[in-house]
């Protein structure tokens, strides 16, 4: 009896710490970023860093001294990056990989929407705690980016809830597990005509949520010294860089889970590889390619873009799903 | 006959609203509130009215079908309402005095520090 509890506990601990938790996030996230940097460099006719460069950066930063500005509120300043990273890894646990999901009974897609806010919020609070005016400008822009991305994201998720709900006969469906099962049974959601605009809108949201080009007004290095990260150095900065990497992984795998959930063979290990491969494809096209060919948008342009173009696409999808197309 | 009362009471209520909405003097606003109150009081007292009814005092000998009481409850309600109306007037006038002291004017269009 006790031994079976122990085994279960160890199993869940394994989920959290190794797969699909920390170790997986750490490796795959950094790998995605490495590939992204290499691709962008190649597209710009540069040689670019080695693909493992994010790992080197991480360990190098961890060895540096952590400088805490005199104006900063120390606890918040140091705690914020950790909370953000932990919350993001927990979020990754809720995203099913073709039917396999460690904790799908814990949260549904509306909760995911809010859990996605926590890393951004942690970053904002950490930036605010640093006391720097650059960070102040950065957090203002970050918050506006979050607001901008929220509307299309909401519309996309509601459209999915309605489409899957219609398919299963429940009327509406918020559960991640049910969405994944539906796709395994009926094929990926992206094959439905009504979901195509939503998928495109979601893909457009990904660079905004992760703060990649051209939606990186919050971190604009050349303009406001990396904004929210202006005061961070050493290990906290490493954690932030890792958070960014994991966020890319989370959002791309969320896209795969929501729209390409039917792809796979049924063997968990192979499926995980397929999902990761799909993540790389999504990253390559919608983060690297977009990065290489666009210039940074001003914050008000960013906002306008998301609330008109992207939200419009998502709305089309929602209305189509509403009328059962 | 009682219909006229109802018409009058609603006329008074509307007149009160009109005064509050259109008059820019604080004292007139207070007067408008009072008029509104009187309208409601008139309405209440009219509701309890019985044509030919006597005062609602209960004595055993008088209790025949021929003699109706006027309804006593609305009268009690009116009393409550009148008292409350007096309190409203007192409170608002004291506020008006303090506002005149601190703003130096009674014009509602100039008493708008809090807006937006």
């Amino acid at each position: 009896m006790t031994s079976s509890i122990l085994v279960t506990a160890l199993q869940y601990l394994g989920y959290i710490l190794i797969f699909p938790g920390f170790l997986f996030c750490f490796l795959c996230g950094n790998l995605l970023i490495g590939i992204d940097r290499k691709l962008v460099a190649r597209m710009q006719k540069r040689v670019g860093p080695p693909i493992l460069q994010p790992f080197y950066d991480f360990f190098k930063l961890c060895g540096k001294e952590t400088i805490i500005p005199a104006a900063a509120s120390k606890t918040t300043f140091l705690l914020a990056p950790l909370v953000g990273l932990a919350a993001l890894v927990v979020l990754q646990l809720f995203i099913p990989i073709r039917g396999f999901s460690a904790f799908s009974g814990t949260a549904d897609i509306i909760v995911l929407l809010y859990l996605l806010l926590i890393p951004a919020l942690a970053g904002i609070l950490g930036a605010a705690a640093s006391g720097s005016p650059y960070a102040g400008v950065g957090l203002s822009r970050e918050m506006v980016t979050v607001i901008a991305c929220e509307l299309p994201l909401v519309l996309v998720l509601l459209a999915i809830a309605k489409a899957v709900g219609d398919g299963t006969g429940a009327g509406l469906c918020f559960s991640m597990g049910a969405i994944s099962e539906y796709q395994i049974a009926h094929g990926s959601l992206i094959c439905k005509a009504s979901m195509i605009p939503a998928a495109i809108a979601f893909l457009m949201v990904i660079p905004g949520e992760t703060g990649n080009h051209p939606f990186d007004a919050a971190e604009a290095e050349t303009e406001i010294c990396e904004g929210m990260l202006a005061e961070y150095s050493g290990a906290p900065l490493a954690v932030y860089k890792l958070t960014h990497a994991v966020k890319v992984l989370t959002l791309t795998s969320l896209f795969v889970a929501l729209f390409l959930g039917g792809v796979g063979v049924g063997i968990p290990a192979v499926d995980a590889l397929i999902v990761f491969a799909l993540c790389i494809v999504v990253t390559a096209i919608f983060i690297s390619l977009v990065h290489a060919v666009t210039a940074r948008l001003k914050i008000e342009q960013l906002f306008k873009y998301y609330w008109t173009v992207v939200s419009g696409l998502a709305l089309v999808s929602l209305v189509l799903a509403w009328y059962g197309l | 006959m009682i219909t006229f009362n109802y018409i009058c009471s609603f006329f008074l209520i509307v007149l009160g609203f009109y005064t509050i909405v259109t008059k820019y003097n604080l004292v007139k606003t207070v007067i408008g509130m009072s008029i509104m109150d009187y309208g409601v009081n008139l309405l209440i007292i009219s509701v309890g009215y019985n044509p030919g009814g006597t005062a609602p005092i209960f004595t055993a000998g008088e209790l025949t079908k021929a003699s109706y009481f006027v309804d006593p409850i609305p009268q009690a309600l009116t009393l409550t309402s009148i008292v409350i109306g007096a309190c409203v007037t007192a409170m608002s006038m004291s506020l008006v005095i303090r506002m005149k002291e601190s703003y130096g004017t009674l014009d509602t269009r100039e008493i708008r520090r809090l807006r937006g």
Binding site: I16, T66, I68, A70, A71, S73, L82, A87, V89, V90, G105, T106, A107, D108, V111, Y114, L125, A128, S130, G136, L139, S140, V144, V146, I147, L158, K162, G165, G171, L172, F174, S175, A217, E231, A235, P236, V239, E300, F303, W322 | I13, G16, F17, V21, M36, V40, I44, V47, D71, I84, C87, V88, M91, L95, V96, R98, S102, T108, L114, G116
Partner: protein
């Protein structure tokens, strides 16, 4: 034996009201001479008021077992004058799960705020009179929700409006306090008059003032006078709930009143308005099944939540911003309650409870800032987290709760509201309800934005030189905030407990009007029904928190192992150049990013809307009165057409 009779729990509702009014009387009888104790100028009066509020809370808590769990409805005839000849001639108190639910919220907020007042009001003159008004206000609100008699509801509304107006103007020196009180009085009186007119029109038709008896008589025999009465009553209670178009009064009144009173006005008075609307629409007129009526309430709720959250984004004053948010959250409550489904009621009442808790906490935090710095202007404050660390943490708990960050309580209830509205949209096929879900979700993120603004402008960023000597607030104030913060976290982590023991009994009470009528001794054909509380989604805050804690622990261990915090401790005293802020090599000068316009990227795109809204909220009392009249006219036409 006699004593045992007195301790029968059927007497407890009237005790809980009585102790408050008795407290008001005793405090007033103590005279107006301030005590010599500088830390508590009200002397024993403060303790009397605290005792009265504590007793009131105690009596109501004793009722939880029979009413919430046992499902009993306490019908209490004052002076034992029960029904005679089929008519209710006495005055009654009737406590069902709904009344008790609101009563508990009110008593909790009143008690905590009273605890806070003791140290908060030290700088004011006339503190002795403060507690009289305070107890009157508390007694008025409690009397309103426990009353079983519609005229008594009106009297209580007047008492609480009066006390609230007087307390709004209490700090006569404060910028705009008198003006706020006057505006509130004018429009509040229009609302009270509307309630009185509505009551009397009902009386003219049915010759009774008892709520239960009215509920038996009205539904079958609606005529134009009844509909008119409905419109008047609805508008009257809307002014008490401050929903659109009465929100500017809330902003003025909450902003100008002392923080401990803002807690009551926003956490308690608005609830009494919502309670009134629920009683009128669902008990007296029983409009549960009416689609148009549902749509009107939901529509007004969504307009309130959106308009007020955008107004809040444009504010430059801490308390005024909180006031607009308060009405925005009330919009959520109204939208959920307007759905008239079991889940909707449960979600709306849950949010009402959470609103009392987190809004109280936020206003108390704002009061703490005002108490120490003397201002609530977002543009002047900054960097207080180093001077007031406890207040900062407590404020953050409140801010996270109101913005619906998991696992705090605001999220649990908002999440239920999203489901309830979306479920209704799917059931009816009405795309309007879908829009409500979207508006609610967007409002939530805008709320977050505006609290990020407050956090950055008040607690983080750089400390202005004049606040160098600011200290943490006294323990009594922190204790009051701590109680509310603990409740915020508790109700967020255990939503199942809250819904089972508090909101679902109350929701059942709304749906079972028949038992409300029968327990008062009247006949009703309405059958008992069980509400459907099933939800489409899943959310397990405790297991989420457990996973997060494990994850956080893991990250922290790794971080500490890689000398995460390697700085020497004495850096505050002799700050080396590298510990100064990053200015690209230039000298460190004071520059705080914050204030009202923090989110220009957002506001720029909405500038026409914000400009229009700023013009509209002109601050002239005539305009607000006009809105009230127009709202009344619209409500009358709506009721005439729809009912």
């Amino acid at each position: 034996m006699n004593l045992m009779n007195l301790m029968d729990y059927h007497h407890f509702p009237i005790y809980s009201i009585m102790v408050l009014f008795l407290g008001a009387f005793v405090v007033a009888a103590c005279g107006t001479k301030p005590s010599k104790n500088l830390k508590n100028p009200a002397g024993a009066r403060a303790w009397i008021a605290l005792l009265a509020t504590a007793l009131s809370l105690f009596f109501l808590i004793c009722l939880v077992k029979p009413v919430m769990l046992g499902g009993e409805i306490i019908a209490y005839w004052m002076g034992n004058r029960a029904i005679a000849g089929g008519y209710a001639i006495g005055i009654a108190l009737e406590v069902d799960a709904l009344s008790l639910f609101f009563g508990l919220l009110i008593a909790t907020a009143v008690f905590v705020s009273c605890l806070y007042s003791i140290r908060y009001m030290v700088h004011d003159d006339c503190v002795p009179q403060y507690y009289t008004l305070y107890c009157m206000l508390a007694g008025g609100v409690l009397g309103l929700v426990l009353s079983g008699d519609i005229f008594n509801m009106f009297v209580m509304v007047e008492i609480l409006t009066f006390a609230a107006v007087a307390l709004t103007a209490f700090r006569t020196k404060v910028y705009g306090a008198l003006e706020a009180a006057f505006k509130y009085l004018v429009v509040g009186c229009m609302g009270s008059t509307a309630i009185l007119a509505g009551v009397i029109m009902l009386y003219a038709q049915y010759h009774t003032l008892n709520l239960a008896q009215l509920a038996t008589l009205i539904p079958g025999s609606m005529n134009n006078a009844t509909k008119l009465a409905f419109a008047f009553l609805y508008i009257g209670f809307s002014t008490k709930a401050f929903i659109v178009p009465f929100h500017p009064l809330a902003a003025d009144a909450h902003g100008a009143a002392p923080a401990s009173i803002s807690v009551l006005i926003s956490g308690v008075l608005t609830k009494s308005g919502i309670y009134g609307i629920i009683r009128i629409t669902y008990f007296l007129f029983q409009t549960m099944g009416l689609g148009t009526m549902q749509f009107m309430l939901v529509f007004i709720g969504s307009v309130s939540m959106f308009v007020c959250v955008t107004m809040a984004l444009a504010q430059h004053d801490f308390k005024r911003l909180l006031a607009y948010h308060s009405i925005s959250q009330i919009g959520y409550v109204l939208a959920a309650v307007g759905l008239a489904s079991g889940l909707g009621f449960s979600a709306g009442l849950y949010h009402a409870m959470n609103h009392t808790l987190f809004k109280g906490l936020l206003f108390l935090a704002a009061g703490a800032v005002l108490h120490e710095t003397g201002t609530t202007d977002l543009g002047k404050l900054g960097g207080l987290s180093k001077k007031m660390p406890h207040t900062t943490v407590l404020f953050l708990v409140g801010a996270f709760s109101i913005s619906g960050v998991p696992p705090f309580n605001g999220f649990a209830s908002k999440w239920m509201i999203y489901q309830a509205t979306y479920q209704r949209a799917v059931e009816t096929g009405n795309i309007g309800f879908l829009a409500v879900t979207i508006v609610a979700l967007i409002t939530s993120v805008l709320t977050l934005a505006s609290f990020v603004k407050v956090t950055q402008s008040v607690f983080f960023g750089q400390l202005p030189a004049e606040y160098e000597n600011v200290k943490e607030v006294p323990f009594g104030m922190r204790l009051a905030m701590g109680i509310l913060a603990a409740l915020c976290i508790f109700t967020g982590l255990f939503p199942r407990l809250v819904t089972t023991y508090l909101t679902e009994p109350a929701a059942n009470a709304i749906l079972n009007v028949g038992s409300y009528i029968r327990s008062m001794g009247f006949k009703s054909e309405l059958i008992l029904q069980r509400a459907d509380f099933s939800q489409a989604g899943v959310w397990e805050p405790v297991s989420w928190l457990l996973i997060l804690c494990i994850a956080l622990l893991a990250v922290t261990i790794v971080a500490v192992a890689s000398k995460y915090d390697s700085v020497s401790e004495n850096r505050e005293k002799n700050v080396a150049a590298k510990y100064q802020l990053f200015y690209g090599g230039e000298e460190n000068v004071f520059s705080q990013v914050g204030g009202g316009d923090l989110f220009w990227g957002f506001k720029h795109n909405w500038r026409h809307y914000f400009g229009f809204m700023h013009e509209l909220h002109s601050g002239v009392v005539n305009d607000y009165a006009l809105w009230a009249v127009v709202a009344l006219a619209l409500a009358i036409s709506f009721m005439m057409i729809v009912l």
